[in-house]
């Protein structure tokens, strides 16, 4: 009885906090900018969770995810501007298009191993970046960028950060639940099996190529939808946001927070965002700081923030139980965190 209470209490508090957050920030702290930051948190959490599906679970690296972010953002903005499609639908269509692009990229790329794959994805990111910054007929606005509107849900305009927050929150919850479902299914097992040993996965009946394509496609959907959320939140996009350093930032957030988990990407986004805010005056050194951060994480805490939390939690449990016999096994499970 007590245990079930404990189990449900956490999520309930989390949900209440997530729902009340805009009011706390705006009315409690008189900090409207904080609500905007919360919107950014949600969309980055979606983008990085998408990267986690590909990198954390399926073990396939991408250093070109800014490209999917761009396809989602530009796709949605252009669909709205040129085809007059209502903003919410334009976001979905743009993300669906990015999914197709992701699958098309994965088809040839599925033969590539780690370092070659990272080169191929860097090249892909560069291709998309070049396209949006020097598009034929300047349809993307090139370096001038493009202005756009906020989301309008069947005529209801999301004209405040608070409204936008709930819109992004709904997307984040849905996409994170889907991610969790996927991981706990035969699809997720196939992805992890590919990461662990693609040779054996194929031998055990997993169509490795097909599942690599699935991982790329799903990952692209997440990141592109986040890109669309970004575009209509900021209501202005320009190529600068979608350069290589954005891909590096996604990777930094993921590695900092910890791969192959739900909480990892979220804690990584939160940490990097906090750092960004603190170092706002040192923007020129942003990439340098990310670089140092990445190095530190890889060397000092390879499991990221969530890995450290898992280790500490396991240690506390271990102390509580005190059973030496069960201890050996737990230690081994802990190793899991040190990805």
């Amino acid at each position: 009885m007590k245990k079930t209470m404990k189990k449900t209490l956490g999520p309930v508090i989390g949900a209440a906090l997530a729902l009340a957050l805009p009011f706390i920030l705006r009315n409690g702290f008189d900090w409207n900018y904080g609500v905007q930051l919360a919107c950014f948190f949600l969309l980055y959490a979606i983008a990085v969770s998408g990267l986690d599906i590909l990198f954390g679970y399926a073990g396939q690296i991408s250093l070109g995810h800014a490209a999917f972010f761009a396809i989602g953002a530009y796709g949605s903005v252009m669909l709205h501007q040129y085809a007059n499609i209502p903003v919410f639908f334009s976001m979905i269509i743009a993300a669906a298009f990015a999914t197709v692009v992701g699958a098309a990229l994965a088809y040839p790329a599925s033969k590539l191993v780690f370092h070659f794959l990272s080169l191929a994805t860097i090249a892909f990111g560069e291709v998309v970046y070049q396209f949006v910054s020097q598009s034929p007929g300047s349809i993307t606005g090139n370096f001038t960028g493009m202005f756009t509107q906020t989301v309008s849900l069947f005529g209801y305009k999301l004209n405040s950060f608070t409204k936008y927050y709930y819109f992004a929150l709904a997307a984040a919850v849905i996409l994170l639940v889907i991610k969790r479902n996927m991981i706990k299914s035969r699809v997720g097992r196939a992805l992890i099996a590919i990461r662990e040993n693609s040779h054996a996965a194929e031998g055990m009946g997993v169509n490795v190529r097909k599942y690599k394509i699935i991982a790329f496609a799903v990952s692209a959907f997440y990141t592109a939808y986040a890109g669309a959320l970004y575009a209509h939140l900021v209501r202005y996009i320009s190529p600068d946001t979608f350069a290589y350093k954005q891909s590096v930032m996604f990777m930094t957030m993921l590695l900092f927070g910890g791969t192959a988990s739900i909480a990892g990407p979220m804690s990584g986004v939160l940490a990097v965002q906090a750092l960004n805010e603190c170092l706002r005056s040192a923007e020129t050194y942003q990439m340098l700081i990310y670089g140092i951060l990445l190095l530190t994480v890889i060397v000092v805490m390879p499991g990221g923030i969530s890995g450290v939390v898992r280790d500490v939690a396991a240690r506390i449990r271990y102390r509580k139980s005190g059973a030496a016999a069960a201890g050996d096994k737990k230690e081994e499970v802990d190793d899991h965190a040190d990805n």
Binding site: I178, R186, R189, A200, E202, G203, M204
Partner: protein, 250 residues
């Protein structure tokens, strides 16, 4: 059950398998032996689709499979274990077995990501069946441990049930006794009998001659990529060519 005809596999100038024609009979344990580098593992790789043969045919249950990919061959009912243990180390023991069931589970991508009723039911059943398979080799107590934390012998056992979980007709065992102590070898001996009872045919690569002579019904001997001899264990043991190949005489 499985027949190869003139199967040849070349890597550049090296002929790893040269004109091998053999037959694996239903319900039997067929042994494949030979000195190191004779091409035994390569032969397994050739019939399981890892390296498509350069020439020759492989027929399994009336179906030509020499151009199929490993996951397709697995689906047709051939599974295998590996000489070097190839488990999914950071997955739990029971999940390793469930990966083995991959082809037998029917839920598609969308049923999986929305966790529809049929998916939940199938997952629950799959987990229960995976536990049954773990009981088959006595690993059920380790079900939620990581595969990488098992002992060497246990890992070999897990590889075998991971393969069996796909309900194959044929399992290719690549040196299953390597690194096992004598008790574990004894268990493996009886395990193979129990696998046979489940209606699964076995082909076995093994260096432990005592084990091979004990369990197999028929033996093929490879040397330098070629079939050197074949016959019942007794026949092979007394074949002068085989003795020469193993002892290095001329």
């Amino acid at each position: 059950m499985l027949t190869t005809e003139h199967l040849t596999l070349k890597f550049g100038g090296l002929t790893a398998n040269n004109d091998i024609s053999l037959t694996i009979n239903d319900g039997k344990i067929t042994g494949l032996i030979g000195p190191n580098g004779a091409g035994k593992t390569t032969f397994f790789n050739a019939i399981s689709g890892v390296y498509p043969p350069t020439s020759g045919t492989v027929t399994f249950d009336g179906v030509r499979i020499e151009r199929k990919r490993p996951h397709e061959i697995n689906e047709l009912g051939i599974t295998r274990t590996y000489q070097v243990i190839n488990l999914f180390r950071k997955m739990s023991v029971v999940e390793n077995v469930m990966v083995g069931m991959h082809d037998r589970l029917t839920q598609n991508f969308f049923q999986s990501i929305f966790k529809v009723g049929s998916e939940r039911r199938e997952e629950k059943e799959a987990r229960e069946r995976a536990y049954e398979w773990l009981k088959f080799v006595g690993l059920e107590k380790r079900a939620s441990d990581l595969a990488g934390s098992l002992s060497y012998g246990e890992q070999r056992q897990l590889e075998i049930v991971r393969g069996l979980a796909s309900n194959p007709k044929l399992i290719l065992l690549d040196e299953p006794a390597a690194g096992m102590n004598s008790t574990e070898k004894e268990e493996l001996n009886t395990l193979m009998g129990r696998i046979l009872e489940k209606g699964v045919t076995i082909m076995l690569i093994e260096h432990d001659m005592k084990l091979v002579m004990n369990v197999t019904d028929y033996i093929y001997v490879l040397n330098y990529g070629k079939l050197l001899a074949q016959g019942t264990p007794a026949e092979v043991q007394n074949n002068p060519d085989v003795i020469a190949a193993y002892l290095g005489g001329d």
